[in-house]
């Protein structure tokens, strides 16, 4: 093994009574890509924040390049050649790329000189690592993939030899993620050390050399990636065997519950996003819509759930039309048995500043069950929330806690619990497990299949192909706003991948 770039010895960190990191030992070899996996709340981010000087460890030692290092602030970390790409980008949105890159690392008190120097340095970095980006572009006008590139350039500009990336692919499309991985491999070839924090095991398998697994604040194992499997890693993460593919019986499809006919939807820029789509969903089946993000899935979901205006076409729920003028009353749709788990739980699904119990009835708050005359029946709401917490294993199990304080996976469970427990006839789910842990994914999948087995019609839209293949009884593939193919659950990844890439139906079938 090459010389260690970073050694962590006996790191401990507590927040109040919570021990976020316990006695962590970790060695990261120079010039490798090292993955760190673990469920949300396993302590990965805390550990990396200690390394980047955001927090101070209570005890333990950090060695960088073999020498003991004291990292009290981000400045110390930067001086030691550690750069970090945060999950939520640390960029000033209305600044240019160059201004963001020099912020805090200006070479001169006057901007002109700093920017001139940064511009030539940036050109060199762009050439060396293939990280092209327009230095004068305004950040908020760049797609997220490029914004992330700016973050990487920022770290490299500060002379980073060790690059930490926290959940870098969470916001990227698959194509952007592939590009990122190529960049990371290139960085490795140039002798940089990359630490990749993620909970997506596929990514770990695809590009890391070594992988360390964290669980509940401890480092449970470190493996050479080539000598481990996804199954083993998942088991180490959760601490028990995990079904990556949920068992399910044959679907017993019944009557048509939701019928979409010749639906066409445009987005706010007047671009046709959903182009003359027709399909049915029957009671007792799960229909999955696969596709690369941005091929019209979001607009389709929004149109069916009455949020976005459709240009033409119809959607029938139990034989009766849904108002597609964009003025549909969501409450009325709920009454008619249509439940919707939106793709973006933060902006649409939840009010993060509310308590858990309030979110757990959001949209159903005028249901007589939760009312006492004109007032909310707090006792009933709390009892209901507690019930859901137990049933869906929402952690921490405190209905009075602010929703923002739950992890992403648990927030998702709050939304799912709310929508599923209303016993809808049709359930529409967008990205059911985005940002959700392996253990919780298994649980959510099981619940969705249980809904199906109760005779509900379920529509799942996901960019995770594995999820679609694991859940669906029928798979529809969307490309450029159209359904380009329908396959059974036995379809191979390669076959679906070709369809998703827009390769013609006939070619894919061959």
């Amino acid at each position: 093994m090459a010389q260690a770039a970073i050694e962590l010895i006996g790191i401990n960190k507590s927040f109040g009574a919570v021990r976020a990191n316990r006695d962590i030992n970790l060695e990261i070899a120079r010039g490798t890509i090292h993955g760190i996996v673990g469920e949300n709340g396993a302590g990965k981010s805390t550990l990396m924040s200690i390394l980047y000087g955001f927090y101070q460890a209570d005890s333990g030692e950090i060695r960088v390049g073999g020498k003991p290092a004291s990292i009290k602030t981000s400045n110390d970390a930067i001086a030691l050649g550690i750069g970090m790409v945060h999950q939520h980008f640390m960029l000033v949105d209305n600044f240019t790329v160059l201004e963001n890159i020099i912020l805090g690392a200006e070479s001169d008190a006057l901007l002109k000189k700093s920017i001139a120097k940064a511009r030539s340095e940036l050109e060199r970095l762009e050439r060396e690592y293939g990280l092209e980006v327009d230095p004068d572009a305004i950040i908020e006008e760049l797609p997220v993939g490029l914004q992330q590139r700016v973050e990487i350039l920022k770290a490299l500009y500060r002379g980073a030899e060790i690059l930490i990336l926290d959940e870098p692919t969470g916001v990227l499309t698959p194509a952007e993620a592939d590009h990122l991985f190529r960049i990371l491999k290139q960085l490795k070839e140039q002798g940089k050390t990359v630490v990749l924090i993620t909970h997506k095991l596929r990514e770990i398998m695809a590009i890391t050399d070594n992988v360390s697994v964290m669980r509940q604040g401890t480092m449970v194992a470190t493996r050479e990636t080539a000598k481990t499997t996804v199954g083993e890693l998942a088991e180490l993460m959760v601490g028990r065997r995990v079904l990556l593919r949920v068992e399910k019986g044959e679907a017993e499809a019944g009557a048509v519950k939701l019928a979409v006919k010749n639906l066409t939807v445009k987005d706010s820029r007047d671009v046709t996003m959903v182009d003359d789509i027709s399909f049915d969903i029957k009671a007792g089946e799960i229909v999955g819509i696969a596709g690369v993000a941005g091929n019209g899935q979001s607009e389709l979901l929004e149109a069916i759930s009455g949020i976005r205006r459709a240009v033409s076409g119809s959607v029938m729920l139990d034989g009766k039309p849904i108002d597609l003028t964009g003025a549909a009353d969501p409450g009325e749709l709920r009454d008619r048995g249509l439940a919707h788990v939106p793709e973006d739980r933060h902006h649409v699904g939840l009010v993060l500043a509310f308590e858990e119990n309030e979110n757990s009835i959001l949209g159903y708050h005028d249901d007589p069950r939760y009312l006492k005359g004109p007032f909310l029946n707090i006792d009933a709401i709390m009892a209901d929330a507690k019930d859901k917490i137990e049933k869906y294993d929402i952690r921490p199990g405190n209905p009075r806690l602010k929703t923002a304080n739950f992890s992403g996976g648990n927030q998702q469970k709050i939304v799912l619990a709310r929508e599923m427990e209303q016993d809808p006839g049709v359930l529409i789910v967008g990205q059911p497990t985005r940002g959700v842990d392996v253990g919780a994914i298994e649980f959510i999948h099981k619940r969705l299949i249980a809904m199906r087995d109760q005779g509900k019609a379920v529509l799942v839209v996901s960019v995770e192909l594995d999820e679609i293949r694991s859940l669906s009884d029928r798979i529809l593939v969307m490309f450029a706003g159209r359904i380009v193919g329908e396959r059974g659950p036995e379809a191979t990844e390669g076959e679906l991948g070709l369809l998703m890439a827009g390769v013609e139906r006939q070619e894919a079938a061959e």
Binding site: F54, S74, M84, M90, L91, D93, G104, A109
Partner: protein, 323 residues
Amino acid sequence: MDVFIAIVQILDSTIRLSVPLLLACLAGLYSERAGVFDIGLEGKMLVGAFAGAAAASVFHSAFLGLGMAIVMSVAFALVHGFASITHRGNQIVSGVAINFVAAGSTIILGQAWFQQGGRTPALQPGERFEAITLPGAAAIHDVPIIGPIYSELLSGHSILVYLAFAMVPFTWWVLFRTRFGLRLRAVGENPAAVDTAGISVAWLRYRALICTGILTGIAGAYLSMVQNGGFVKDMTAGKGYIALAALIFAKWRPVNAMFACLLFGFLDAAAIRLQGSPLPLIGKVPVQFMQALPYVLTVILLAGFIGKAIPPRAGGVPYVKER
């Protein structure tokens, strides 16, 4: 020719009346660009006005008065910083509190020290900032058009007037051409980005507030030592709030701020000039209407004519270091 002279006179008083607004507006610009809302501009100006006039009359020095105005105003700015940066308190509440403390304490101290009903003694020559006559103003005075413009409009103001207008390009230069300005704007947009870049968010915001304090101090000194010959209670009369409106109106940009303040100053000047005299076609306009105009104008212009004014994104939010 009379009309011309009248216009020159109105513009001249426009400049005089705009100066305190402009200084306060630029003061607010530093603070708000750094992400700290400052509704306490009014209070800091008032404290500056009192401290300036009091010190000038006690020490018989205009410059000592100005210095004391700045020191006291900065001290109040630091209190705002201590409450809202260090202790992450609500910036609006802290600002309002500063306004109340300023309004009350200046009267109490003024009465205790000078026994003139909260006023400070009338300032003598040498204790005030006198008008400066620009070179050649007298010589050129009788030249038509240019003469009155140069000698009436441009010449004959105090040093603080020229300072205030010089602050406009200076502020622009600081904000957009220096490292400090880049960081200051960054901390008002995304303090986490500044923090992870290894810069102290708190210290940066404190420095912005010190800039604010210096400028409100000068604004206050102008009120009590130039416009007026001493401190009168509540003499800021809402100028801090108009400055805030001008700041929004100017979309937090220095040059826009100057024009916004000149516009408000002009309305003020026109209101004074037109007091009691009937307007053609309209007839006599109540003075209250003219006085309300700046506010009415702000509402109308903000509502539709200047487009969306987007404040610094981190404005009003105390920075808490959390991932």
